[in-house]
């Protein structure tokens, strides 16, 4: 019950007029970002970080976290009303959400999505509340080799559990690691991989890379297919809302199952996108016979939304307790923490309890705020999408470049955004995953430092990673995570040969 007391103190931090206002602003910004194609949660958070440099860290993290929740909700709105997923993690919501809205039940579809998303998020926060102290206490026993093994585990989990081809995930991770080594080396003080460019001396900021990859890259994807908004009616009928809420308990099994999937995928680096797809697949297999999926079946909305949000919230747990983010957005937030001078990880719980518990408490409140706000503003944001692309497209692009410039007031970063925009586009088209790249960039320094220290401890022998049961089991688990899925896949592939598109 120690956590409960800490949570109550957290609520005292979170429930102040300023912080409540920050939550509302954060959620609204998140909704905008989630609704607009080309602006997603990782990118939106990156754009906002430079503006938080002068803020108090508690307020800053509440703002960023609220924006994340808002973005998750906003993504579902467009999935259902326009069949355009505002976020990659809400792709699975389009399968049944849009058909249901087409049948004239858009209020029902939206309510189902938002309510189950809210429930998923709350389950996620409860898990965080219960587990965080334990996880942080566990992590206090970690030395350098253990830390390296945890980073290694995170990388391996992406390779083994991600939805992309393992080789492409590995490449994406390595590109991120290589980018993180550019510039001044913090250990030896030498300049690395600048190739004579003075602009690279300070390194490549992950914020700039995220804005390019996720912002410009995603908008290029949108542009190439031409933009067709075929929206359905977006008026919210309050009676329908309550009728749908009353209908919700019927899906308790789907809710429970999807929350569990989401929690698992959120804590391990599966991420919300994988969680929502997996949950949709499981719901399709396990649900009682009835209407077919893909034609507006309620479980088809409840399942991905619940998993998406519980994964999104749970991704904060490993970030706070271990310093290992498990989604792209959490990675960006963790980068923000480091910029504000905080070190994510177990010590954060000991040194900054008000920060950690203020954030956790704010997650309860802002998710409820988000459910209410998103319901109230559906017509507004649906109207936002009716603005012609010739206006909204350049506005998004300009905001991305402005955001990248504010990171360090460097004009060179504008070119980097353009470059990474094109890279992001090509990577997305060839299904190279982007999240591992961001994770590797944020974790690169820490992974290298802990590797360095471990090597010094052991005088250059890799045996140090199997020197005690703790580090040994983490390393073994990491290797198993990579190997087992490949063996399973190999057996499957021996039976049938797929095409480029079907190999994931």
């Amino acid at each position: 019950m120690e956590n409960f007391g800490l949570l109550m103190e957290g609520f005292q931090v979170a429930i102040t007029p300023t912080h409540l206002a920050i939550m509302v602003i954060g959620v609204m910004l998140g909704l905008v970002v989630g609704v607009l194609p080309g602006l997603g949660a990782p990118n939106g958070v990156s754009l906002l970080i430079p503006l938080t440099f002068t803020m108090d860290p508690v307020s800053a993290i509440i703002l960023l976290a609220s924006m994340y929740w808002g973005a998750l909700f906003g993504g579902s709105t467009t999935s259902i009303l326009f069949n355009i997923p505002g976020e990659p993690s809400s792709v699975a919501t389009t399968f049944d959400g849009y058909p249901m809205a087409q049948k004239g039940q858009s209020t029902r579809a939206l309510t189902l999505a938002f309510m189950s998303a809210g429930i998923g998020a709350l389950v996620g926060v409860v898990v965080i509340t219960l587990l965080s102290t334990w996880a942080a206490g566990f992590a206090l026993r970690f030395g350098a080799p253990e830390y390296f093994s945890v980073y290694f585990l995170a990388f391996c989990a992406f390779i083994g559990m991600g939805s992309s081809a393992p080789l492409k995930t590995i490449i994406s991770l390595l590109v991120g690691l290589a980018l993180s080594t550019v510039g001044m080396d913090t250990i030896t003080g030498t300049l690395r991989l600048t190739y004579g460019l003075n602009e690279l001396m300070g390194g490549v900021s992950f914020l700039v890379v995220v804005i390019g990859l996720f912002g410009i890259g995603e908008i290029l994807m949108t542009v190439q297919d031409g933009l067709h908004f075929r929206g359905v009616a977006s008026r919210i009928d309050l009676r329908d809302v309550f009728r749908t809420i009353a209908e919700l308990p019927r899906y308790w099994a789907t809710l429970l199952r999807s929350s569990a999937i989401g929690v698992w995928m959120g804590i391990t680096p599966g991420g919300p996108t994988a969680a929502s797809f997996m949950s949709y697949g499981v719901a399709r297999q396990w649900s009682r016979p009835g209407e077919p999926f893909g034609k507006g079946r309620p479980e088809g909305i409840v399942a991905p939304e619940t998993a998406d949000h519980s994964a999104g919230t749970c991704a904060m747990l490993p970030m706070l307790a271990l310093g290992v983010p498990s989604s792209a957005t959490a990675a960006v937030m963790m980068g923000g923490l480091m910029i504000w001078g905080l070190t994510p990880g177990p010590m954060l719980f000991a040194t900054k309890p008000d920060f950690v518990w203020g954030l956790i408490a704010s997650m309860y409140i802002s998710n409820i705020v988000a459910v209410v706000l998103v319901m109230a503003t559906v017509p507004l944001f649906a109207a936002l999408l009716r603005i012609p692309f010739a206006v909204i497209g350049p506005v998004i692009v300009a905001i991305c470049f402005v955001g990248a410039y504010t990171v360090s007031n460097a004009t060179f970063d504008l070119w980097l955004v353009l470059l990474f925009g094109v890279i992001g586009y090509v990577f997305s088209k060839l299904s190279y995953p982007l999240a591992p790249l961001v994770l590797a960039m944020v974790l690169g320094h820490k992974a290298e430092n802990s590797f360095h220290q471990s090597m010094i401890l052991s005088d250059g022998s890799l045996d140090v990673f199997w020197s005690n049961p703790l580090v040994g089991s983490i390393m073994t688990l990491a290797l198993l995570l990579v190997i087992v899925p490949q063996v399973v896949k190999l057996i499957g592939r021996l039976r049938s040969r797929g095409t480029l598109r079907s190999v994931h």
Binding site: V175, L193, Q224
Partner: protein, 160 residues
């Protein structure tokens, strides 16, 4: 102009492998061995680069072996045209921004795209661009005290 996906896959995999070679090569100059105080500065990036080179080439070869002769399209001419009509003004925006500052760059960019591609009345489009630039100024320079890149126009108007 149609680019097949298989060609793009191989090309990108090879480019990534070359990037790996460049990283490993750049690290070699820093020393990749072992010193009294632990691994050298180039140690970590060298192996990252090496692995990237191996993974890139492996991916290229793998793709050729498994998917040779597949005809899936990476981009067709219509998509390429749409993409270029978006990319070119964006690149111009960056160049103009470097010369004239972010405010003027953004205003001109919005004006051009809304006018030429959105088929708006030029006055309306100009209003849109200027309005956007002013709101950027209010949000960044005034509210958040984060100055954006300024150019000769701002110097002339004495806005810092």
């Amino acid at each position: 102009m149609v680019i097949k996906r298989i060609h793009m896959e191989v090309l990108v995999a090879c480019l990534l492998a070359l990037a790996g070679v460049a990283v490993a090569g750049g690290s070699l100059e820093l020393g990749v061995g072992w010193t009294d105080s632990g691994p050298d500065a180039g140690y970590f990036p060298f192996y990252v680069g090496l692995l990237l080179a191996i993974a890139g080439f492996a991916n290229a070869i793998w793709t050729v072996i498994l998917h040779r002769g597949e005809t899936e399209i990476f981009i067709d001419s219509e998509q390429a045209r749409r993409l270029l009509s978006f990319l070119l003004p964006m690149t111009a925006f960056v160049i103009v921004t470097l010369l004239l500052g972010l405010y003027v760059g953004a205003a001109l960019y919005l004006f051009y795209v809304a006018w030429r591609q959105g088929k708006y009345n030029p006055f309306w489009a100009a209003g849109l661009g200027i309005g956007f630039a002013i709101s950027l100024f209010v949000v960044f320079d005034t509210l958040f005290k984060v100055p954006l890149l300024k150019g000769p126009l701002e110097a002339y108007l004495k806005i810092y």
